[in-house]
């Protein structure tokens, strides 16, 4: 085992051991179970569970929740655990991440002993989004990012409340829809549209915008638009390579099955994601109207350069969702 300074100077060596887990106090746990301090001095010994007869010791391995485990009997799949207090940074465990796949993930901090893993940081501290792929990551799943789990909870709470508290059937909401001939046909579909809505993590979904169905038919008559939809991952809308996030909170699916919605899992949605956001997105899918048209149909005024969450605010102000 070799330790280096950040400039590459050899710091210390320990023969016959292999680093497994870097700890938050600057030390390291070797595969032997010996704990070393930042100077390479052995200052502890974790007790490695006895292997089964005839099996070599597997040593300690990190897991995603910051514990270390060791297989005590591989045939019966029994484990023992201990807390490790992982170091922060890109190299807190052997194999670059607890699964040992070689993909370097950043442990940004420990929260009461639980590490928070992220992809290498970009300008907005979000997972990298470079190429079109096939990922549609359900909201709250995938790599743990700073806010995705909180936003998944917010989404679920908002959805449950919207469905259970009668907003969609309120007198104000009914009047808003039924007195408008362009919206009346959709009033009776609001509840099912919300019920069937499936939320995905916009930052982690690299499926193309075309395959995600987040486009309207009329866009295909714009020269080059079809090609751009095919090479643009959904996550670009939330994490652009050539610029910062531009303010889109959610993006609805316009093509069948018209149920998906991709959610921005950045900090701003902790305060901006509301019941009315879900309804706003459901209305896109139901009506096929983009933001500008939907706002005009709802309010009789042009959207212009207002932020599009004014649509959500308008729906809430008319009783269709909580404020």
């Amino acid at each position: 085992m070799y330790a280096f300074t950040s400039s590459g100077t050899l710091l210390w060596t320990v023969p016959n051991d292999t680093p497994q887990i870097a700890t938050s106090d600057g030390g390291v746990i070797g595969s032997s179970g010996v704990e070393y301090d930042q100077y390479g001095n052995a200052d502890g010994q974790t007790e490695i569970p006895s292997p089964s007869p005839g099996q070599s010791s597997p040593g300690w391995w990190p897991n995603w929740s910051g514990m270390s485990y060791s297989v005590t009997n591989s045939s019966n799949v029994q484990y023992e655990y201990l807390f490790s207090n992982l170091a922060t940074g890109y190299a807190s465990v052997a194999g670059a991440n607890p699964s040992g796949t070689g993909t370097a993930l950043l442990n940004i901090e420990t929260d009461e002993g639980i590490p928070q893993w992220r992809y290498p940081l970009g300008s907005r501290d979000v997972p990298a989004c470079l190429l079109v792929g096939a990922n549609k990551v359900e909201l709250g799943l995938g790599v743990r990012t700073p806010y995705n789990e909180e936003i998944a909870l917010l989404y679920e709470e908002a959805k449950a409340s919207l469905l259970s508290r009668g907003y969609l059937a309120s007198l104000g909401c009914k009047a808003l829809f039924t007195q408008n001939p362009n919206l009346a046909p959709f009033f009776n579909q609001l509840t099912s549209a919300i019920s069937n809505q499936k939320a995905y993590d916009g930052l982690q979904s690299n499926i193309s915008k075309y395959d995600a169905g987040v486009w309207a038919q009329q866009f295909l008559t714009i020269p080059g638009e079809l090609e751009e939809l095919r090479v643009t991952p959904v996550c670009w809308e939330f994490n652009r390579i050539l610029g910062p996030w531009t303010g889109i909170l959610a993006m609805a699916q316009f093509q069948p099955p018209k149920t998906d919605v991709y959610i921005w899992t950045g900090k701003e949605n902790l305060s901006l994601l509301k019941q009315s956001t879900l309804l706003h997105e459901a209305l896109h899918s139901l009506t096929g109207m983009g933001d500008a048209t939907l706002y005009f149909v709802l309010t009789g005024k042009p959207l212009g350069r207002q932020p599009t969450h004014v649509i959500s605010t308008f729906l809430a102000n008319n009783g269709c969702a909580a404020n």
């Binding site: 915008k209 486009w215 714009i222 080059g224 531009t246 316009f254 109207m289 005009f296 350069r305 599009t308």
Partner: protein, 265 residues
């Protein structure tokens, strides 16, 4: 039948006078200098690029010449090159899509032409887009110029052979009401419209008179035509009519000259 207005028709203007920056000679023509903006990555078989030109370079002959330069430089099975009149817009524009950030509307409004080629489909054309927020092929405002261009073409929107290159998107609140107003003005050599005056201030009921006149005046001032050596006087009946259709934004505007009806939106 709307009142017709006298329009002095002049011979077609085929030569253009303003050249800026470094231009590109190509065959018998001089293509205007352009600046590259955002290019969509990940597109091995597509060239998806934004470029910008100075506003005075938006003219049929220059754009057709530029298309030859673009064709030679950006070769690929498909090329879609969006041409803006603002460097900042070319750097920042992304397709508006169904949902977009509010700043995106500003960038999109600066899009005034697209060069498109698709080798497999044997398509190559320029699309002139006066309203950047209506960039589709089937927009009634847009003029498609199939390349190579073989004949003297007309733009869908033009006055005295000067194509309308740019105007503000037509969108107004329902409270604006409907009405018509006659406006006079001058198309300047650089293509902008100046000295816009309401010629018949009493044409509409008082309730809609001011709003319609303000709306029409503001919109006409946003028009930009192809450059020319001359000033051209115009007299236009600008009609505003409320519509209530789910995919319209509430207003139709119709501008009429003697020979050229304009449906604006």
């Amino acid at each position: 039948m709307p009142k017709l207005f006298r329009v002095v028709l002049r011979s077609a203007l085929t030569s253009l006078v303003f050249f800026y920056g470094t231009s590109h000679s190509y065959g018998n023509c001089e293509a205007p200098a352009y600046r590259e903006g955002r290019r969509v990555p990940n597109s091995a078989s597509y060239v998806l690029l934004n470029i910008s030109l100075r506003p005075e370079n938006f003219a049929r002959e220059k754009l057709i010449c530029l298309a030859s330069v673009l064709k030679e430089k950006y070769q690929g099975p498909v090329a879609a090159i969006k041409i803006f009149n603002s460097d900042e817009a070319a750097l920042n524009y992304v397709s508006l899509g169904n949902e977009y950030a509010n700043s995106a509307v500003l960038w999109a409004s600066k899009l005034h032409a697209i060069y498109y080629s698709n080798i497999e489909r044997h398509e190559e054309y320029l699309l002139l887009i006066p309203d950047g927020l209506s960039p589709s092929l089937d927009s009634p405002f847009n003029t498609r110029i199939d390349l190579p261009e073989k004949r003297k073409l007309q733009c869908k929107l033009q006055i005295r052979d000067r194509c309308l290159i740019e105007f503000d998107h037509i969108s107004a609140s329902k409270e604006y009401g409907s009405g018509a107003v006659t406006l006079t003005g001058q198309i300047m050599p650089d293509g902008t419209v100046s000295e816009v005056v309401v010629a018949d201030p009493d044409a509409n009921p008082l309730s809609s008179r001011i709003a319609v006149a303000e709306f029409a005046t503001r919109n006409l001032r946003s028009w930009r035509f192809e450059p020319s050596l001359t000033k051209d006087e115009i007299r236009i009946l600008y009609s505003v009519k409320q519509v209530d259709a789910p995919f319209e934004e509430g207003v139709d505007a119709l501008a009429l000259t003697k020979n050229d009806p304009f449906l604006l939106g």
